[in-house]
Symmetry: C2
Subunit: 171 residues, 2 copies
Amino acid sequence: MTALIDEKLLTLKRLAPKTILVHEGSISDEMIFIIKGCIRAWYNAEGQDITLQFFFEGDSVTSLESFLKNIPSTINIETLEECEVGILKKSNFSGLIKTDSEFKELFYETAIDKLLIHHNRLLSLLKDKPFHRYQQLLTEKPGIFQRIPQHYIASYLGITPVSLGRIRNRK
Amino acid sequence: MTALIDEKLLTLKRLAPKTILVHEGSISDEMIFIIKGCIRAWYNAEGQDITLQFFFEGDSVTSLESFLKNIPSTINIETLEECEVGILKKSNFSGLIKTDSEFKELFYETAIDKLLIHHNRLLSLLKDKPFHRYQQLLTEKPGIFQRIPQHYIASYLGITPVSLGRIRNRK
DNA sequence: GCGCAACGATAACAATTGTTAAGAAATAAA
DNA sequence: TTTATTTCTTAACAATTGTTATCGTTGCGC
């Protein structure tokens, strides 16, 4: 999707690990494109940190509801490792949507793709046991345990770190 | 959303309970608008019936991936009770998207709204125990147990009918 | 290089959910 | 009205996951 964006509209930045990009309660006015690195979205459930999603190179990242509807975000977004990103300001985004029909088309296609990703994740949570979800994750992202702390992965899978340890030791 | 659709483009139909509207493996070329009744989307996991979503009056229903991308649907959609629906054929839908920018805008807004609904459902599955999900469902749809068999509701919540029975008896 | 923080592993016990089976109640069909 | 099917409830046992606690390892910061 960045191929359609004039380089002048993207602000390049290098971010340290644990940099907060979106904070719950704040309105998000940036869309981030990951050039290099890893980012996660998480939800604060009364002090409990629930990991919702991981993003890698080539992904676009934002709190969509906050970004599009100008309401406070319910989620947090932060870097897991040092990242190189391109940042698209909301004002530039809105300009592109108005003037560049190809960009608008691609944005909506991307939104539909994200819907299908969420749908599949939802489906997996309903039909698969934690062990099977763990296996699927390994199949899709073989190197994930080298990049991401396993307690975040456990949270993403919907289980505790202790349970993930048991699952990993299962044969 | 139907307010923007010329009545001539909607085919009105009355459907019996257990009518299959979308079948896994088939390409879906209709978008259904519920005037009256209840419909559910479900996934066949090797013979296991997983209920994904319920739709009620005012909702639009389709297998989005199949409808938009012309690929076989992975889900099934069927009526739970006698329904009155309006059906919009894919060809009419495409015509509206091309010619009616207001309709197109609204369709994409609706798609974003569906994304947020999926996001919230995903979040609930990750952070809430079945009992809490059950309570949320009662809060959001108080009369749901009068309209839908409890074994479908159990499936939707991600638990077995036996577990749902235990939860309902918990005080 | 040392101290601290973060990460990871494991055990024991508790709680919850799944599975299987049986039977009652409600609904649908003949 | 009767029969068949579907839905619902419950018990007993099995399996899985959560909780709490402890300790070892690795990585970070000074």
